[in-house]
């Protein structure tokens, strides 16, 4: 039984620099693969990626793992990666896990 589980959506704003990826909903074990799929198919190189999490109400370790993988990919490609516009809930989870430096101030 699932009660009130919000949908999860990923949208890529083509033409923005850095490439803006907007996620919305709950980023958990069930939805992490959706975001991973979207991030993995982005062009390597370019002007980098800004992940907008302002519409994300919850993120768990599966979601953090997708973001960590993107950090690795960006480092390997030498491009920028930032998490922008995190909601308060997401910001608190980044603080708890010691990942605040990934958040754009």
């Amino acid at each position: 039984m699932t009660i009130g589980a919000p949908h999860f959506n990923v949208q890529i704003d083509s033409g923005t620099e850095p490439l803006r990826v907007v996620a919305e909903g709950e980023l958990d074990a069930a939805s992490a693969a959706t975001l991973a799929g979207a991030l993995e198919q982005l062009p390597v190189g370019g002007t980098g990626v800004a992940l907008d999490l302002s519409g994300v109400s919850f993120i768990d370790s599966s979601g953090l793992r997708v973001i960590a993988a993107q950090v690795q990919r960006s480092e390997a490609a030498g491009t920028a990666f930032s998490v922008s516009a995190a909601s308060d809930a997401v910001r608190r989870i980044f603080e708890m896990t010691g990942l605040t430096s990934l958040l754009a101030s």
Binding site: M1, F58, S61, A68, I93, G98, L99
Partner: protein, 402 residues
């Protein structure tokens, strides 16, 4: 409420429903026998649909387009020995029932065929339509029950494997001092898939207590296996006498070399309680902070990101907290609070301190009361595994734990 101790098993959905009409394919090179067979079946059991091919090479394309329930194979096909054809079909079509046709006086071949994976055999010329139809129906049912038994055995094996992993992830802390008590709990997520939550504890020769709790991100046996490596690695590093500040950094090296996919990480919190039980040093790599009853979260202001996500070269010097008199603290994984409440939202770590206070009304933190608090709020069960460890210092004498 879900019961995490129960694992349910349902038949796999590839087992077709019982009332579906069966498609039977006869592999037979003799046109006369083929016609006799078709007529006999049509009279005896019109619900069986029959197709005929003369070679096994014509059988396999047919199984791509149609759901074949049973193959009736003549062991006397030219060009191949009958058993070669049988072995080929058994391997290629593991879900299809097989009945073989043997020659006169060759019951030996029939028994051999059963040993090689056929469900039944018929002696050519000795079976009428009703016998053939009954044999086909029997073979289909027998195959179905064999598949169910195999699936069930596989489910049991997975369960046994999970129990083994759980035991390896969560050992009993090796602590003997009488003034400290330990209380550990582990709850499997509703999915039944074990994840990489782990904890361990040790009492060193000088009375120092070392304690660790961690969580490998993600669910599955790979993550659980990584959790086992980390727990065993932590224990080895501590017993080898490594400085507490170095243990988690060495553990991260272990994680980086052991992780199979390359993006796994683990949140880990390491505690060092001094021999006089008057201080605790917290070294935290991205894990929820332990909570001390009456005081709240014990944060590591010098903490860092999870092991496996190295954002800078900072070490883990730790943060020391005082512990006065009798005390009780709890460490836990995020599965405890990441439950969906009736508001629709998933709870955050900020919910834990007040729940700990409520569960510590009698002094020591009651592990079951704390778990029960979140279980009662969870509208759809445990989303993730929960590992929880309560450590309590008792003072001698009546009312000493207050």
């Amino acid at each position: 409420m879900n019961d995490p101790s129960k694992t349910s098993w349902a038949p796999p959905d590839h087992l077709s429903p019982r009332d579906a009409p069966h498609l039977v394919v006869l592999v037979e090179d003799d046109p006369g026998d083929t016609i006799l067979f078709e007529e006999a079946i049509a009279d005896a059991d019109p619900e069986l649909r029959v197709r005929c091919v003369s070679r096994t090479s014509q059988l396999f394309p047919l199984t791509q387009t149609d759901e074949v329930s049973c193959v009736v194979l003549d062991l006397g096909l030219p060009g191949v020995t009958g058993f070669e054809a049988l072995d080929e079909i058994v391997t290629a079509l593991p879900r299809v029932a097989i009945v073989v046709l043997t020659g006169w006086g060759d019951a030996q071949a029939g028994t051999e065929a059963l040993a090689r994976g056929a469900q039944d055999y018929l002696v050519k010329g000795d079976a009428d339509g009703r016998t053939i139809a009954r044999s086909i129906r029997f073979a289909v049912e027998r195959k179905r029950s064999q598949l169910s038994a195999t699936a069930l055995a596989a489910a049991h094996m997975r369960q046994a494997e999970q129990h083994r992993l759980e035991r390896a992830l969560l050992v009993d802390p090796a602590v003997v001092r009488p003034d400290v008590s330990w209380d550990a709990r582990y709850i499997a997520a509703r999915s039944g898939v074990v994840s990489g939550d782990f904890f361990d504890g040790l009492e060193l020769a000088d009375g120092t207590l070392r304690l660790v709790i961690g969580d490998v991100a993600g669910h599955g046996t790979d993550e659980a296996a990584l959790g086992v490596s980390l727990r065993a690695g932590w224990r080895s590093l501590v017993l080898a006498g490594l400085d507490p500040g170095e243990v988690l950094l060495a553990l991260e090296d272990l994680l980086l070399s052991e992780r199979p996919r390359g993006d796994e990480f683990a949140t880990v919190c390491d505690l060092t309680i001094a021999p006089d039980l008057g201080t605790v040093c917290i070294r935290n790599a991205g894990h929820p902070a332990p909570i001390l009853a009456g005081r709240g979260p014990l944060r590591d202001v010098a903490g860092r990101s999870p092991l496996g996500i190295r954002l800078d070269d900072a070490g883990l010097p730790g943060t020391e907290h005082r512990l006065d008199g009798a005390w009780s603290l709890v460490t836990f994984t995020d599965g405890l609070f990441e439950v969906r409440a009736d508001t629709g939202a998933i709870l955050a770590v900020e919910e834990v301190p007040s729940a700990v206070e409520a569960a510590a009304a009698s002094g020591a933190i009651d592990a079951d009361a704390l778990i029960g608090d979140f279980a009662a709020r969870a509208v759809d069960g445990w989303r993730d595994d929960v590992a929880l460890l309560v450590v309590t210092r008792q003072l001698p004498g009546p009312g000493g734990t207050a």
